[in-house]
Symmetry: D2
């Protein structure tokens, strides 16, 4: 089969690999649709160290092609979505409820990290019973593929934000995860959501996914605007959806005492991320900084798919570009360089 | 009446002031016992800016001397404990449940900050119904005075730590608040508590209040020891009870994925407090950083007093020195310089 | 001033009363709009015992006419909404966070219970700072009045239901509180909401407020339908919005293991309310039964008003009838008898 | 091997069975110590319907005798404790966090229910990685065996009780689960715990495990006593540890508004369990009724074992009688009839 791989740091390409085979608890999925994620760019640049001929990708849906002997309740030919994070569910961290930290810090992230990813004609899924979510008939693959990471991650950001009913939220950066965080905040009862974003196309999508106000940080201090809009107090919750220290510090500054900073951005640089001491109430003003990694699992995926089945939410408006798998290298390059206002490129198999 | 005041930055002394009078919802308390807190030293050094002839002190108990017209359910002559933090309970932050952030960030802290403190022969208490806690007959003033700040603050650190039953906790620094955090962690079901402390007297008290292990950070990296003792994983929760960036960073390093860093230390220096990026899982390993300020209020104080009434806990072993109020200046100097292994000095009126 | 009163059990009427005067922490509000609530009918029938010439009503908005001396941050002439429940915020139950249980069980309910209600030209509000919520200019009184009870109570039902994001909910009975529970469940991220209701007008409103399916219990066992729609499992949460034992038992039957039964109905009859033992997992299947009473307070009211200011929600579609205050007796009779498909009658002053 | 079985309803005995073999994810344990539980008596009497030659028992520890091919991180010969509840961890209810409701209501309960139990020379454990907890060297089998059900169940009762720090708790019935609920309430920060019990030996143990007061319900209404001790208010939480409607109703009566009733008793009789309507605040006084079934899993078991390793807790004082496995029939009869003040009989293999 063909797989899109990171050959080494800085180099990608398509190569032939054998179709994987399942262990007793595993499944093999034949890919039908996939999305490219910016984190693959980080990986290729070396963010998690060297890899050799590692298949990339972690946002794929498809059809069950093979099942391990101990797998029950699933059948070959079933359409399924698989989350970017595929925990074992039986290790200590999983039993503690932190399945994304399966085995160790960030250890639930297996695709394109500790094993081949899902940007290939077939991919392997561990613990199939818990990690494969059947896709309802009414939900097309092109929509379902958004549950794999974008919806699960963005909504988690909102779940971690502890938004009071009718509360105020600021989402910093309206990339695809930020957009889903905006949507998530609205789904979870926020009364006012501000998106901090300067790119017009993203501003537009932010409004579409429910932002009550869009704040362009190139036109003035967004924290000052947020404070003004909230009677001087700041927001109940701020969501960091970029992974930059400057944005993180703004989140701390923009929240009111007792507020929550929900971090979902991948902080890729520097030895430290700084908290502004006074805005943090010298460590005493009841602010909470919460972090997390995309929660996976069939049960959660099924809940996310419900929003697509009912038509309440349409994430496919984020699909700005479409490619065949044969065009994957060009698509990856485009996403890597964020050309042509790209938000999410869909790959069809 | 006599009051112990901060005359200006760097200068303290005793002066005569009129006995305060109550507004409709207030009370005046005649002081019987008080503790000196290190935070008064910070204040005198200018940590919260200049003050002129401001009465110091926020850990006092006494007897009700006068009550406002609208106060019900209390009577003159009643023995009462008053928390360091005296919220209004009716402003927006109080109604949100963040009473220590009454009105604004840290705004529940009124004594020796926005109004005269409690190190005087009489002191004024706002919102008396909610802020005065009757002391049970069986509890002496010298024990009850520990509920005003030390027990409430230290126990809050443990409450914020989200300790699973039988979980592991590391408390960084065993000053009086750290000691009460150790005790609080044990009260809340911790299965293993490590105290990181190098001063022998404090190490001893740490063991007495329930530390299963004392780690002397002068003899090696305490985080390495914590990891070793927890099978490499780190603790479920780390409590910062010092207010230093180095200690805070160790808390982030010492916790396992999904763990909680409960900050109770007052961070008095620098523009920023740094988070070590990799130990924080690049912002994605489900760690939570929670902060807080001593929670006040009659209802909580009554629950804390229950531990003293039943004899389950004896905080008075922290009372290393005793003084008459006439000796307050010497006592303050001793506490300021941490002479003679002082932990908490008790002032009797 | 004129007031609509319960003269004695079974008898209502309009009478002259003096305009009330405020104590130091109180306010007097001149009424502009009010809603009639079915619970007043219960009261008049004797549900809470005898009362003599007690002013009825607890869903009123108006303009501040007078303020007590100790009240700050409000001004005469301001448009305000007042919740049906007006806690003191300083008693033990309030400090515990159960403000609706102010002082004692259900003790936050003061209007038309322990003091004159709000269906009069003027009404008295205790603890004004915490209980008066300024109404944004863009929100008309006729909409704001829905925050006093219907929105606050119905949304609380959904908040107590612990709905997982994308989870399933069944709301039993789509009267005004049930309708707001449906809306609340959608606001809080439910993925599928079923309304169990047989009256066509209410079925229609249920759909309008977000019900994905309406189940007519006169056409078959609604629990069987709910189980069928949820793959045999039952819903994550069931909301009892009627106050009947039969409906409560259906809630227990309709929830899956680990689910929540959120009770908001007033159970007015019998010595006991029965739990079906086997559907309750013989007391061991992780189900939770949660109860509550309309939460009040300025801070919550302000959050609810935000939904009206942004136009996200329009509760006025429940206003089926409108009356002048001079027609209050006829309006009350109509509501009492539920004539002409009445849902909520608005009274204008 | 020999196994102690329920031959049919009403009849028990020892029989020969083949040593079980493991599937890919399973383990076989050679039993070293076990406890008899009253629920086996219920089973034999037919509480869960007919069974034929079903091995009884669910409180056993032992040594790993065989492991499935897919099991990692465990080794033959290791001493392990296995919880009474052995979930799969990958089904929908497990992924929702309700592992005791694995697959279906109460479905985590597999031993002596849907498969052979653990009162045999060898027993089979599904999902071995998650269900086998290594026993620390310092903890003898005779103590470790208490984690299998008594500690896990009793402590869960306290965890569900939502006890505020220093709060008040009443535990109804001090059988072995009630005793562990008392201990659990103390471990979790209760300030005052009352045990309602009339049997002297159990009263004594209740005090030993931390009860501040023992209330003999044969000498007067225990609820009246509880109210008197709590200033008329009732307790923050009541724990039902018997499984009787009368006791359950007392729990509702004994709790204050906003309080929690934590049910852990197995309600074996009648079609309904009644809630007293007025004490339940007509369904509106913020009381919560929470149920649950013994939580299992290696991670939790390891936390419970920590209390034994540190010597903080000694459950073996509940071991009133000791038998060899060859005496199992006599032991079972004695437990069934609660002869000789028996609390827990230990079976040695």
């Amino acid at each position: 089969m063909r797989a899109f791989v990171m050959k080494r740091i800085g180099e990608v390409g398509v190569m032939e690999k054998p179709v994987p085979t399942p262990g007793p608890n595993d499944a093999i999925v034949r890919t039908t649709a996939a999305l490219i994620c910016t984190s693959d760019s980080h990986t290729v640049r070396g963010a998690i160290g060297p890899r050799e001929n590692l298949t990339l990708g972690h946002e794929s849906v498809g059809v069950i092609a093979a099942l391990g002997d101990a797998v029950t309740g699933l059948r070959i030919g079933q359409r399924v979505a698989v989350n970017a994070i595929t925990p074992c569910y039986v290790c200590e961290n999983c039993l503690r409820g932190f399945t994304s930290q399966c085995t160790e810090s960030l250890g639930g992230w297996k695709f394109a990290n500790v094993k081949d990813g899902a940007m290939a004609e077939y991919f392997h899924v561990n613990q199939a019973v818990a990690n494969l979510a059947p896709i309802p008939d009414s939900v097309p693959d092109e929509a379902a593929v958004y549950t794999c990471d974008m919806m699960s991650t963005g909504f988690m950001a909102a779940e971690h934000a502890q938004i009071p009913l009718g509360g105020t939220v600021a989402v910093f950066a309206a990339g695809p995860v930020g957009l889903m965080a905006i949507q998530g905040a609205k789904l979870l009862g926020a009364g006012w959501v501000a998106a901090v974003e300067s790119v017009p196309r993203r501003q537009e999508l932010a409004r579409r996914f429910g932002a009550d106000e869009v704040i362009d940080f190139t036109r003035g201090d967004p924290v000052a605007t947020i404070r003004e809009r909230t009677g001087g107090a700041g927001v109940d919750a701020a969501i960091e959806a970029l992974g930059s220290e400057a944005t993180f510090m703004n989140c701390v500054r923009a929240t009111r005492p007792g507020g929550t900073i929900s971090n979902v951005g991948y902080h890729g640089e520097g030895d430290y991320v700084r908290i502004p001491r006074l805005d943090w109430g010298v460590g005493m003003n009841d602010k909470t900084i919460r972090t997390g990694l995309c929660p996976g699992g069939r049960e959660r995926m099924s809940r996310l798919l419900r929003f697509l089945a009912s038509g309440r939410l349409d994430p496919t408006v984020m699909t700005t570009h479409r490619f065949a798998f044969s065009e994957i290298e060009a698509a990856f390059r485009m996403m890597d360089r964020k050309e042509d206002g790209i938000i999410k490129p869909l790959i069809r198999f």
